[in-house]
């Protein structure tokens, strides 16, 4: 985004897609900037390096996000358990919030969420020794068109995936473009395991 693009957006009442400034101090950000999670508000803020350190170290509600993605090769989530989750699509991430665990998945109207029955989640978490840090980590499940894959990812990846889905997902099944983009997202996630 630059000035002319911002002006065009404003005149046409569409909000800019991404912030390229630190959302705490307003300093310009490079591509590989930091993120601060606000677990209570379910928000993620783009931050410059100084603010990321300063705000995460002091007693604020912000927590510094350390980008990571862990392929959980031995994760067990049976087809029967997946069916019990009653999600309409084969792609979702799960996050712990103040009100329990929620599944987030793509839908025609953007990302939808559904509360996961506590007993079901406890069973899944227990059999995999999975402990999610609320608002910071998510279990990402990818079952679109191949054997299920499970990842433990930091919340910034979830936002990235959500943004990608918002732009490309069409209708209930997503469409070809969304499939390709999702495949590429996971290629990146996987590819770096061997880097």
């Amino acid at each position: 985004m630059n000035g002319v693009a911002a002006l065009r957006r404003f005149a046409r009442e569409t909000r800019p897609r991404s912030s390229e400034r630190c959302e705490l101090c307003g300093a310009p950000l490079g591509a590989g900037h930091e993120h601060l999670a606000d677990p209570a508000e379910h928000a993620l803020k783009c931050a410059c390096a100084a603010c990321a350190v300063l705000f995460a170290d002091s007693r604020t509600r912000f927590v510094r996000v350390e980008p990571r993605a862990l392929l959980l090769e031995d994760f067990v989530l049976t087809d029967a358990q997946w069916e019990l989750l009653r999600l309409p699509v084969n792609l979702a991430f799960f996050m712990r919030t103040g009100r329990g665990v929620f599944a987030f998945y793509p839908s025609p109207a953007g990302t939808a969420d559904a509360q996961v029955p506590a007993a079901l989640w406890e069973a899944i978490a227990r059999q995999n020794d999975l402990r999610l840090r609320p608002g910071l980590e998510a279990l990402l499940v990818h079952r679109m068109g191949h054997a299920p894959e499970h990842y433990l990812v930091s919340v910034d990846h979830c936002y990235r995936l959500t943004g990608l889905l918002r732009r490309t997902w069409r209708g209930f099944s997503g469409g070809e473009e969304a499939y390709r983009r999702v495949a590429r997202f996971f290629d990146e996630l996987r590819g770096d395991a061997h880097a």
Partner: protein, 149 residues
């Protein structure tokens, strides 16, 4: 240019009435300028259009008003050509993947790909501020992915 962004952010945080007044004023002003610029391009003919395209500032102004003679895709390609050699010298390659519906998607691959992402984003927004979006995919050591023990 960044002053624009700052002011737009400021205006967007205003209450809706004030924001709408500002937006209406801006729209009217832009419409007036668009008519004038459009007339100017007609009067100046091909020579003026060619010269205008080569001037970065005038080019941006035409894009702001949807009057640019070159498409978003053509401008994106031209902009990437300008940095291709420099990127290659540092060990990275860049390609434009698509420009569907004005959404520019490019991929940079190789050494320093992640560092080049910001530069390429600015470059493409600069060449095509009328793009619907700019996405740069960097293929390099993007994530630290550890395999579960």
């Amino acid at each position: 240019m960044s002053e624009f962004e700052r002011l737009v952010t400021e205006l967007e945080s205003l209450p809706e009435d004030a924001r709408e007044s500002a937006r209406a004023l801006l729209e009217e002003t832009l419409a007036l300028h668009r008519q004038g610029l459009s007339r100017l391009l007609e009067l100046g003919g091909a020579a003026l259009r060619e010269a205008a395209v080569r001037d970065a500032l005038v080019s941006a102004l035409l894009a702001l008003h949807d009057l640019h003679p070159l498409s978003v895709e053509e401008r994106a390609r031209a902009a990437l050509e300008q940095v291709r050699a420099e990127l290659l010298a540092s060990g990275a390659s860049v390609e434009l993947l698509s420009a569907t519906n004005g959404l520019l998607r490019a991929r940079v691959r190789g050494r320093g790909a992640e560092d080049a992402r910001g530069m390429l984003t600015d470059l493409l927004w600069g060449a095509a501020p009328d793009a619907a979006g700019v996405e740069i995919e960097a293929i390099g050591p993007v994530l630290q992915l550890r395999v579960n023990p």
